[in-house]
Symmetry: T
Subunit: 69 residues, 12 copies
């Protein structure tokens, strides 16, 4: 891990079921276009309410990945 450089991007994943699933949704999408995803950090957990019930969770994460040389 000598002198590696990582980039962090911010994504909001959504899910109608759970916080974990919202995070997975964001990471799954990131994995389609970014190689070497390494870690994530939850930044904010919000959600939308429709007719008095949680419609979907909105979880914002920072995702870190290795920048190729």
């Amino acid at each position: 891990m000598k002198n590696h450089v990582y980039k962090l991007i911010e994504l909001t994943g959504t899910s109608s079921t759970s916080i974990e699933h919202a995070v997975e949704t964001a990471i799954k999408r990131a994995n389609q276009t970014i190689k070497h995803l390494g870690w994530f950090q939850v930044i904010e957990t919000r959600g939308n309410i429709t007719k008095g019930k949680i419609d979907h969770w909105q979880v914002t994460i920072k995702v870190g990945f290795t920048v190729e040389k």
Copy 2:
């Protein structure tokens, strides 16, 4: 959504099972007396421990709703 005004209140929901359920508990209660609930944001996640096990989760949220004109 021209010139609407929203109010935000802070609630702590509890649950013996999960963070999501604690949030649902708070929103369900808010919905009994407040119309037009729109969104929420998780502010703090705490919990109580009894005999070395989590007894219940305490999740504090801000809930936003439309103020009628």
Copy 3:
């Protein structure tokens, strides 16, 4: 101002024109039902984008007012 008590509530005002106007919208509405509004503090400034343009500003403020004895 001996032993006065104040309450702070959180409101989000909206406006299609400016931050100042969004704050005024929230205070104007608060003034319809609350006497003795005293001060406010801007908590968050957000906005909605439609077709690449700012549709409306959403400014969240805390408003403080005297609680009558």
Copy 4:
């Protein structure tokens, strides 16, 4: 304490003598209209100066109480 819901409100109590007294002033007032006050948290400690001396302390607290079902 199964599935209880609590509400948190923000109050500023004032006192010419001490921080503790300013908090007591706010809680005493809250107790006139709210049942089941449970806990508080100090958010901010400010004060007013008149002729070079502290005129009164202004302590902002969050007060939590049980929301009846």
Copy 5:
């Protein structure tokens, strides 16, 4: 809005006239290359002073947009 994923990027817009115009400048530029801009949040408001006067406002925002599947 089932399982959508959003990306947030950070931009600093500048303007010699107002905070609102600095934000518009950043969003206008983002709209040239990004589809589906949805919302923004003001992160920081700074400015440059030349000869004792504000030369330009520098407003940093986070802009959120839908990531296509």
Copy 6:
């Protein structure tokens, strides 16, 4: 609860399944060596990604317990 003293320590629990399970893992371990665990607060939620999927959740909590006299 007169003049009790509590200590708070910081632990990171991990789990391949959920945030709640990661917290339970940390508390279960703390309970092996500490009596009178009383409460916890979630400080940070992170995770590790392997081959584009969440490998394990890393949840950092503060745990409070009574210090015996």
Copy 7:
């Protein structure tokens, strides 16, 4: 810009019209006694309410300037 030193001071400017004008008021006053003002950063935006209307905006800024050798 080799080894320059800058000082930052905190000022609150007020205005009955806008946030921008409140900042200008503070900078204009600083410029009467300080040379080489370089930049500012908005720290807090508050205001006073009289009879249900914004009486004046109170914008606190940090102002940075070059310290002469």
Copy 8:
């Protein structure tokens, strides 16, 4: 003070009378088992309410002390 190392621990002291007394309670207890206590910093001030009155103050502090070589 060349190359000294200090450790910081987090304690919550309680008192039915004042914030200062709650801090003293925590430090008095720490002093029973830790030598070379050096300084403290107040992290959070909370309290418990019983029958509409403050039952006890809960003040969380970080306490720093010299780690012997």
Copy 9:
């Protein structure tokens, strides 16, 4: 209060007895050289421990005062 400008400075007052007295000490000293002190805000509460007891409280405040035209 039209277009007034205020300056805020940061002071640490000390006291062997209480937080309130430490703040008073700082304000009393500020009043010797600054006219028109208006308000203060507590920023940080720390203290020094000698032989297992609080030797003195160190309370850092921001003090605001009117800048004359």
Copy 10:
């Protein structure tokens, strides 16, 4: 600098020697693909420990650069 727009990205640079070198590593890599890098801000300083010694520093920075029109 009229109406310029800047973008900020977040990078983590690593180094086995110093904080400064970790920042340089990140900026050097950014410079390979981004023109007009203008400034950076240190967000977080962490590190990895192997066999009781610092193996490498991990410094996260925000880097700002001009977005071409």
Copy 11:
């Protein structure tokens, strides 16, 4: 790394030469009594001034290590 638990402690290392050396001093000391040190995070960088010069740097870090089962 299945279901591991980590503990984080807070240390202040000092050095008359550099921030990096102050961190090393703290980690070196921790390594004398704690096995499996894994990572650290810089929390605060302060220093002492004697006769107008930096006498020593005081760098506070959180150090994380594996808790054995």
Copy 12:
């Protein structure tokens, strides 16, 4: 140290070589006009990039010093 009062000012020191040198630059300058400098705290670490390289580090510190009676 009975009832001493300290003042804190904010300075940005710059250096083309290191964070430590930037801090020293600020303290050296402060020492030309202020007696009894006591301590400092690093508030922010930024820097300027020219032609893809760090041109100078900009480190903002708070410096505390004794206010004479």
